[in-house]
Amino acid sequence: MTYDAKLRVWRGDADGGELRDFTVEANDGEVVLDVIHRLQATQAGDLAVRWNCKAGKCGSCSAEINGRPRLMCLTRMSTFAEDDVITVTPMRTFPVIRDLVTDVSYNYEKAAQIPAFTPQPRDADGNHRMQQVDVERPQEFRKCIECFLCQDVCHVVRDHEDNKKVFAGPRFLMRLAELDMHPLDNLDRRKVSQENFGVGMCNITKCCSEVCPEGIHITDNAIIPLKERVVDRKYDPITWLGAKIGRRPHS
């Protein structure tokens, strides 16, 4: 079944832009990205948009659809009525490069600042041993496809450009939590979590968890435990070491 979908797409660059109306054919089973691609192929050859996998695995096609941060490849056209106007705009928290493409370098900079994974040595036979139960908690965070939708929605940075210097955003607070829970990691990142990455600035609104296309419980499972570890046991190396070793029944 085919119908004419009504799209309102933001077009412009760093100097400004506007919402433009388009009528584009839509077919059964399609997602917003399909319709954007058809728009590109038939009416606006230079429409800038990022994508790779078209299956929700790479986190490239992030945008705001009717104001809500979403992956375009996982937003089915059937979630809208045929006469709805679908508004597609770039992620608001990041500077626009062109059309739907934004400058996400903030995220890559934060990633580079996080003290790297620091493993304990291997066992004598050359293997690392970890139990499934111990890897499962950090594994949840490693499902992250770096779509940066959580970064986009978080109010700490969404309307407060200045906070970007001192706040890493949910994706990277989660990375800190992941390293903290990693059974093999040996580095204490509690001090930097507080002082350099701003874990204290998160006030647990859970908006990040709501938009995560991977369904990761960012706030409950990553940020809150990180906050607790930072606040409750401020820089006590003995409890820290105890907690680390206690979680890993060494078999």
């Binding site: 790779n52 299956a55 790297a116 890897v135 950090p138 490693r142």
Partner: protein, 600 residues
């Protein structure tokens, strides 16, 4: 060129998938100054999409497993056309390459003893794939990405290389543009590693993304290197078929490894009717034996659903042609009736997600509809197995862009391991070469740089020409219809005629807008690569008059011993592709004995 941004490095790695990142890590560890260049953002390369796992004979689940068994499986899966030395190095080194990922933070699923767990996949004798649920590629790329960032390696992202630069002594660097601004950039470097992935975007039904336009294959030809066995294109048996907009998106082989079976519209497990003589001895011939195998591999043979991919893809094709397909022209893949909901959700979470979101199908309750999709190219840059060196001094290739490792058909899981093994080797060799040939000796030729810039801007100069999207669409349709899973001589000749027409159309196309982040322009620059690679595939496929692995000729059914001893080599001279039949490298006696009990 006034606006040219210039850089100097010892090693430039083109590609930030598993192969490119592993190469960069090794080159840096060997003391080289390294740059990585990639078309997408860091972390988005194709490798991120890999699902099932990394094949490595670690023997964590089956102590009987070892490199010899893996080597044998790989060679037999590739119908003995693999470069024996690549297959040997791959099988020997894969376990170490997987283990070292844990030193960099990877978290694989575990066995009860706390070791890396391994799962079953088609063509592998033992459960051998290290994995994380069904998102192994994400774990692999994120681990390598975080390592590259920790090492402080320079990454040029959203930057496309359009030309390799060469001088009388070999490679001198590369030329490209920033996608964001459209501005030109050059890297002067004595060593370049190609790690650009595959070619699947030339086909209409494909699991591959916009990046897979064969750039590395085409750049290698342009620089004077050679391609081997381009006729072998893997059609993965299980792509999604419905709805139309997701046609081709991959359904991981793990569904079958974890117990899923294929059925036609009559409800028959048809794979039992398609067991080839070559694999009869190791394949179950009753449903009962096949079902017992999941729990007892020692006393039972593998289910036919887990035959190598070429066999399964052809079987599905035949069932659909015989009128036993599903409503939307596929077959059923059923795991719902065979495994519990909990098991499916634990083992295949992203497949569950994918079908729920894209097709509104609950795979824990209903069967999936699946059919073949273009997935992987076995052919690629001809390299020296030990050093990954191409035929031009200073040029290296690793990962999907390199050829030889997988013969005529790749086994699942053998790509991710290939990336790590040969990525590392390419990085080390490129660094060693740069040490012997300092960057100052590799001068970029100013005229060639100017010429490359002019060529890149040509689409803007023309007005009123065709739009690149239409031409791409026509190429995809041509390759799908005429050089697809089953091939005939008249169809391939027709494809070559159409490719000639398409070349003329590409020479006259025009793009709208300006240079800043302009996908239409980007596609216009990718199209010549796609056409060149498609021409190689069609020509090589026409040349090989037999059927083997990922190359099936209706007019020449079955393999022949003569062709089993030959590779087809492509090279480019004055813009045209020529072919050469080259004898296969001879496997040494001690390895050959591993195959004695079976016909080659």
């Amino acid at each position: 060129m006034a606006e040219l941004e210039r850089h100097h490095y010892d090693v430039v790695v083109i590609g930030a998938g598993g192969a490119g990142l592993r190469a960069a890590i090794e080159a840096q560890a060997s003391g080289a100054r390294v740059a990585v260049v990639c078309k997408s953002l860091l972390g988005k390369a194709h490798t991120v999409m890999a699902e099932g796992g990394i094949a490595a004979a670690m023997a964590n689940v089956y102590p009987e497993d070892n490199w010899q068994v893996h080597f044998r499986d790989t060679m037999r899966g590739g119908k003995m056309l693999n470069h024996w030395r690549m297959a040997q190095l791959h099988a020997q080194e894969a376990p170490d390459r997987v283990r070292e990922l844990e030193d960099w933070g990877a978290l694989f699923d575990r066995t009860p003893a706390g070791l890396i767990s391994q799962r079953d996949f088609g063509g592998h004798r033992y459960a051998r794939l290290a994995h994380v649920g069904d998102r192994t590629g994400l774990e692999l790329i994120r681990t390598l990405q975080q390592r590259v960032v920790a090492l402080g390696i320079d990454v040029f992202m959203e930057c496309t290389v359009t030309r390799l630069m060469t001088g009388p002594d070999g490679i001198t660097g590369a030329f490209g543009y920033w996608r964001e601004s459209g501005r030109f950039i050059s890297w002067q470097a004595p060593s370049v590693v190609l790690a650009t992935g595959g070619i699947g975007k030339s086909y209409k039904v494909t699991s591959n993304s916009w990046e897979y336009t064969g750039d590395g294959h085409s750049l290698a030809l342009q620089a004077g290197a050679t391609l081997v066995n381009m006729e072998f294109v893997q059609f993965h048996p299980t792509g999604m078929v419905w709805p139309p907009s997701v046609r081709g998106i991959l359904v991981t082989e793990s569904v079958r490894g974890d117990g899923g079976v294929l059925k036609n519209s009559e409800g028959t497990r048809f794979m039992f009717d398609y067991i080839p003589e070559y694999f009869r001895k190791e394949t179950a011939d009753t449903i009962e034996e096949a079902d017992r195998w999941y729990d007892d591999k020692r006393n039972n043979r593998r289910p036919p659903e887990l035959l190598p991919r070429d066999e399964v893809a052809r079987a599905i094709n035949s069932e659909v042609k015989a009128g036993r397909g599903t409503e939307h022209g596929g077959v059923y893949l059923d795991i719902a009736s065979r495994r519990s909901k909990e098991y499916i959700l634990k083992r295949l979470p992203s497949m569950y997600h994918q079908f729920m979101e894209l097709a509104e199908v609950d795979i824990t309750a209903e069967p999936m509809e699946v059919g073949p999709t273009c997935h992987y190219v076995m052919g690629g840059v001809e390299v020296d197995p030990d050093t990954a060196a191409a035929k031009i001094p200073g040029l290296y290739a690793a990962g999907e862009v390199a050829g030889g490792m997988h013969g005529s058909n790749r086994l699942g899981g053998n790509s991710l391991s290939d990336l790590l093994v040969f990525g590392r080797r390419a990085g080390a060799s490129a660094a060693a070469y740069a040490q012997a040939h300092p960057v100052t000796a590799a001068q970029l030729d100013d005229d060639a740089v100017a010429e490359a810039g002019k060529a890149a801007l040509a689409p803007f100069e023309r007005e009123g020409g065709e739009n690149p999207y239409t031409i791409q669409h026509d190429l995809q349709q041509t390759m799908n219809d005429l050089v697809g899973i089953i091939r005939t001589e008249p169809e391939m000749r027709e494809a070559l005629d159409r490719i000639e027409e398409l070349k003329k159309r590409v020479a006259n196309l025009s793009v709208e807008g300006h240079r800043q982040y302009n996908p239409g322009w980007h596609l216009a620059l990718d199209l010549p690569h796609m056409l060149k690679v498609s021409e190689c595939i069609a020509k090589a496929a026409l040349e090989r008059q037999e059927s083997r692995g990922g190359h099936t000729r209706d007019d020449f059914p079955g393999p022949t011993p003569e062709w089993g001893a030959l590779n087809v080599i492509c090279s480019e001279h004055d813009g045209s592709i020529s072919l050469l039949r080259q004898p296969l490298p001879q496997m040494p006696e001690d390895l050959a004995t591993l195959f004695e009990e079976t016909p080659a």
